[in-house]
């Protein structure tokens, strides 16, 4: 399958701003999916995108798969219902830093704890893009936003540390300046049975860059490339595979229990 068959072209061009990192994520995702479909490793009719609210959460609307664009912060809770009710679905959750870790933080840690079998791609642009640039729980200390005009007084989350603290077995961090690696990470995440979390540092030129001396999308990518490293380097953000373990996914536990109780191999 060609990735072009996965785009709702009638909706293009999309609403994202010029140079928005979410666009690159969309691009990488549909190619990764197309490869998986092509290889017969996934079935497009059983692959579902779920998102919350935010610029990043708009991506599913451009992909020609079943998709559920939910409420702000809650995609993982919706995904929990989808996956448990139909374990055959392969679920990808597209979310933003605000969606996943501000209002949605609780669902994030509980999905990680339960080891819900979903692939979470968090477009972490360090800001609330959709609403015009307010501080987010990943905005760096001191950074400017429309609600931190004097600089952000709050320390940010390290999202990977957070989900690992909650028990997530498969955790990676990449950036939109690393699209090839990101594509491979998505492949890995789709292959893992269980909760996979990919923290994608991404750029919001419109609402983050402008206020924080990163004038163009290119400067932002330059920054991302220069300030990240796949090794533990002082002053750099660690990217790469941060954890990759195997644990039985939640739906399997639940359905094994059902089979045991109902005596039905098919789980009813």
């Amino acid at each position: 399958m060609n990735w072009r068959d996965l785009i709702r072209w009638e909706r293009m061009p999309h609403i994202l701003c010029p140079g928005c990192g979410n666009g690159t994520i969309l691009n990488v995702l549909v190619r990764a999916l197309a490869e998986k479909f092509e290889a017969g490793e996934l079935d497009p009719d059983r692959t579902v995108l779920v998102s919350g609210i935010g610029c990043s959460s708009r991506l599913p609307g451009y992909v020609r798969l079943d998709s559920l664009h939910t409420t702000h912060g809650r995609p993982l809770a919706f995904a929990t219902g989808l996956k448990l009710a139909n374990p055959d679905l392969e679920i990808i959750v597209l979310t933003g830093d605000g969606d996943a870790a501000a209002i949605g933080g609780n669902h994030l840690i509980h999905a990680a704890r339960r080891n819900l079998d979903v692939t979470v791609i968090c477009s972490n642009n360090l800001i609330y893009g959709m609403t015009g640039g307010q501080v987010s729980p990943t905005t760096p200390e001191g950074a400017k936003s429309t609600t931190t005009p004097y600089g952000n007084p709050e320390p940010p989350f390290d999202l990977c540390e957070l989900v690992m603290g909650a028990g997530a077995p498969h955790v990676e961090r990449w950036t939109t300046a690393h699209p090839q690696q990101l594509k491979r990470a998505i492949h890995r995440a789709l292959e893992r049975d269980g909760f996979s979390f990919i923290d994608v540092l991404s750029q919001c030129p419109t609402n983050y860059g402008r206020r924080n001396d990163l004038k163009s999308p290119r400067e932002m990518l330059e920054w991302l490339r220069e300030n990240t490293s796949t090794k533990d380097e002082p002053g750099k953000i660690r990217i790469g595979i941060l954890r990759d373990e195997e644990r039985k996914p939640f739906h399997e536990r639940v359905h094994e229990l059902i089979e045991e109780v109902s005596g039905d191999e098919e789980g009813g």
Binding site: H69, T70, R74, F78, T80, N106
Partner: protein, 373 residues
């Protein structure tokens, strides 16, 4: 009615009704006085191949239920006031995305944590107005344990028929009492209409579907639909800037319920015991039991709706015009406001009775007598 005779708690009967209606997914968060529903579901669902999951909160519970519904499974949650408040954003989402689902609210005394273990009917208006935006739900109020069973089935059926969230507006009286209940085997169940499997559905939200309700393209069957809580066009695509699209969408969402008000009332049924009297008593849910008893004593007419929403002012007018009407509720006056819209407000009186228990029949009789002079 054929089926197994049992002596159950209302909450247990509700769980059994759900399973009889075809519910195979329950996501919830415990809260008194609804918890026994979750507890029984956690035991019963695995037996019938269904999924029970306890979520991290009520917001997540209704989200998971909606998710399960889009996976094609009949799904339900149960809660009480505080949890119902937390579910309001998703009530609104379910209405907007036309997701069939059932939410049980076993009402307890509010506001806030209030009286966690005591009965109340103070979430009646919330069931309709709790979420933001214009939408309509179906809400039914059971007065007996048998109705906890039967009306749960009705909730599922109306949810599936209309693709709306349906609320079982129960209360602690019926939730916690035990009574005989026939676990009917002959329940009529309704399943949502589905598009042909494997067919891409290009207009999942047509402007004027048959009966105002489009078939539901559940996920995993090749329909390739996009579902969003944003205002969307026929294709399901966001169209948030077009007033006409919004107007037509929300009008349809409301009309599919409003235009059926009479049919729903007739199909679910109501009690009308007409007596030669100037006085009509109105009550519903757990409180109606008192009022039925008092009305006999008073030789007054009684109207007991089972359908709380949608309200049908014409029906009420037809049934109760000309009476002095006394509405008895375990709250500070909620359903009575609807009755006031339908009738001459001057003929409408209320016995507001919060506090945790229905009034005794004596209390109702006293009030009626005071009213009559």
């Amino acid at each position: 009615m054929s089926g197994r005779v049992e002596f159950l708690q209302g909450n247990e009967a509700c769980a059994e009704g759900a399973i009889a209606a075809g519910c195979r997914f329950f996501a919830g968060y415990p809260i008194t006085p609804s918890t026994e529903i979750a507890e029984r579901m956690s035991e019963r669902l695995p037996e019938v191949g269904g999924v029970y999951v306890q979520m991290e909160d009520e917001i997540g519970s209704l989200a998971a239920v909606i998710g399960a519904s889009w996976a094609g499974v009949k799904a339900m949650t149960a809660t009480s006031g505080p949890g119902f408040s937390l579910m309001q954003e998703h009530m609104s989402f379910a209405a907007m995305t036309e997701t069939p689902c059932v939410v049980v609210n076993v009402q307890r005394g509010g506001p806030s944590t209030g009286q966690p273990t005591k009965a109340s009917q103070s979430d009646v208006m919330q069931a309709r107005w709790g979420g933001h935006g214009d939408y309509e739900v179906v809400a039914l109020a059971p007065s007996t344990v048998q109705e906890m069973y039967d009306l749960t089935v009705e909730c599922f059926n109306w949810a599936e028929r209309l693709r709306v969230p349906a609320v079982l507006l129960a209360d602690e009286v019926v939730g916690h009492m035990r009574e005989r209940v026939i676990l009917r085997e002959d329940v009529e169940t309704v399943d949502r209409e589905l598009p042909e499997e494997g067919e891409e559905v290009r207009e999942p939200f047509p402007l004027e579907p048959d009966d105002l309700v489009p078939p539901m393209p559940v996920f995993g069957r090749g329909h390739r639909v996009h579902v969003t809580g944003l205002t969307h066009d026929e294709r399901g695509y966001p169209a948030t800037d077009d007033p006409e699209v919004h107007r037509r969408l929300v009008r349809r969402l409301c009309n599919k319920v409003r235009k059926r008000a009479r049919r729903i009332h007739e199909s679910v049924g109501y009690d009308l015991i007409e007596r030669e009297s100037d006085l009509a008593l109105v009550a519903y849910g757990g409180c109606a039991r008192t009022v039925l008893e008092a009305a006999e004593e008073l030789n007054a007419t009684v109207f007991r709706p089972r359908v709380i929403h949608p309200f049908d002012p014409d029906l009420v007018r037809r049934l109760l015009d000309g009476y002095e009407v006394l509405v008895v509720e375990m709250n500070l006056g909620q359903y009575v406001e609807m009755i006031e819209r339908a009738l001459d407000a001057e003929c409408v009186h209320a016995l507001e009775y919060p506090g945790g228990y229905p009034p005794t029949p004596e209390r109702v009789i006293e009030e009626a007598e005071r009213l009559q002079g």
